[in-house]
Amino acid sequence: MGIEMKKLGWVATLAASTVMVSSAAFGQDAAAEAVAVTPEVAYIFNTLLFLIGGFLVMFMAAGFAMLEAGLVRSKNVSMQCLKNIGLYSIAGIMYWAVGYSLMYTGVDGGYMGSFGLYGWEAAGGDALDTGYSTPSDWFFQMVFVATAASIVSGTLAERIKLWPFLIFVVFLTGFIYPIAGSWQWGGGFLSEAGFSDFAGSTLVHSVGGWAALSGAIILGARKGKYEGGKAVAMPGSNIPLATLGTFILWLGWFGFNGASQLAMGSIGDVSDISRIFANTNLAACGGVVAAIILTQIMYGKVDVTMALNGALAGLVSITAEPLMPSPFLAILIGAVGGVIVVFTVPLLDKFKIDDVVGAIPVHLFAGIWGTIIVPLTNPDTSYITQLYGIVCYAVFTVVVSGVLWFLLKATIGIRATEEDEFMGMDKAEIGVEAYPEFR
């Protein structure tokens, strides 16, 4: 049941959890057929799922921070760390102030929610009608928007100024992401059209990816990245940090996909969550192995950063439909994600689009792949509708974030001076070097 069912399908889910469930739902475990849980127990488990999933996804912020800190040069590491903790905090406040409401209240098949106020249960509240605690859902949805913003941070590293980036994050997390999200998970027009995106290959990862792509084009490449028509390699400063970041993201993804089941009040739900965990893991493995084999064949040596990107591409690929694929198909879907990364990282360089950490191949291209392939395993969806959804998100995000980047460029400017860029953003804008004693 993905996030799209969040508001719409809740009543039905609650009802199902209170009546006797047919033995078919339990598969071969006939002994378990008798008892369904009470609404109280369902409420507790649903809420627990949001909380556990939420703090796992929260930790993905650390994963992004470490991945980016490792893949930028040592003179830009402090800046990257600051951007990551800054964007996470801005996302938290903006999603509380307007985002959650814009995404989930009064969408009703339309194009955006409202600016209306929403309330959390009072302390000690015991109303069961929502089926879960509202703050738990708020928290779970909030950490997703932070993920979208982190994607932009990595792509634009090493040459964007701090403040225009943070201002962009205000609009991305308060308005662009919530409005886009309302179309599907808020019960908007795409959800009515039959589009399907279980945990956000498109809603989270492609939206972040499109915003990053338009930013990268408007901002331009790092000085010296493309000389004489050829790309110049600028190796990252710390592969262990990038690896740690990737593993943290991988861990967080169990919350991202698993808790997007949105309910844990029945054996059917908890079984589905387990299946999602297994498929999520398999897809990431597929992405890594594909990237390792391909880089060995193509370059004669395995590129560790591509293997790391491969893991994330596998994860993004399975995010649109982590429940329905068989284990083998999950590996295959993830592996294609890994292949996409190995081929599109150099492709972006051909177009002189400078994506420092490979976020566009990982989140945008693999996100499109994951979304388009949903109908292979989910019979309730169609390729046409999936494509329709992808195009809607592309047009909206590219246009709105493009306008925003242009406005920022025309007013306060988005690009560091050539001198600052050469010196490194750490010295130029932060004044604190990441490795002051390392020479």
Binding site: V232, P235, Y299, T305, M306, D349
Partner: protein, 112 residues
């Protein structure tokens, strides 16, 4: 006195040290350096982009010896550092005018 300066492959350092000890050398100064020779470095690939590694890591060692010992020291280094592959390094020999052991004030060969 002569100073023997050698640029060698880093992994050969221990063997060279043992060889020099074998011909009576009692002290040695080592520096990690980078440089290139006739091959001008080599290329690597990072994220699909080929890039030149213009300077390769090497070890520079310096040893000052009595004139009579210099040929043996050079031979010892050449034998121990040799792999027969590109990039084995070079050895240079210069004259040294004077030497002082700071602790005792001994000079020249006595200071070595």
């Amino acid at each position: 006195m002569k100073i023997v300066t050698a640029i060698i492959k880093p992994f050969k350092l221990d063997e060279v040290r043992e060889a020099l000890t074998g011909v009576g050398v009692q002290g040695l100064t080592v520096t990690e350096v980078k440089g290139y020779g006739r091959q001008k470095g080599h290329t690597e690939i990072y994220r699909g982009t080929e890039y030149a590694v213009s300077f390769l890591p090497k070890i520079k060692l310096e040893v000052v010896v009595d004139d009579a010992v210099a040929p043996a020291a050079v031979d010892a280094i050449a034998a121990a550092a040799k792999t027969g592959q590109i990039g084995d390094g070079k050895i240079f020999v210069h004259d040294v005018e004077a030497a002082v052991r700071i602790r005792t004030g001994e000079t020249d060969v006595a200071a070595l």
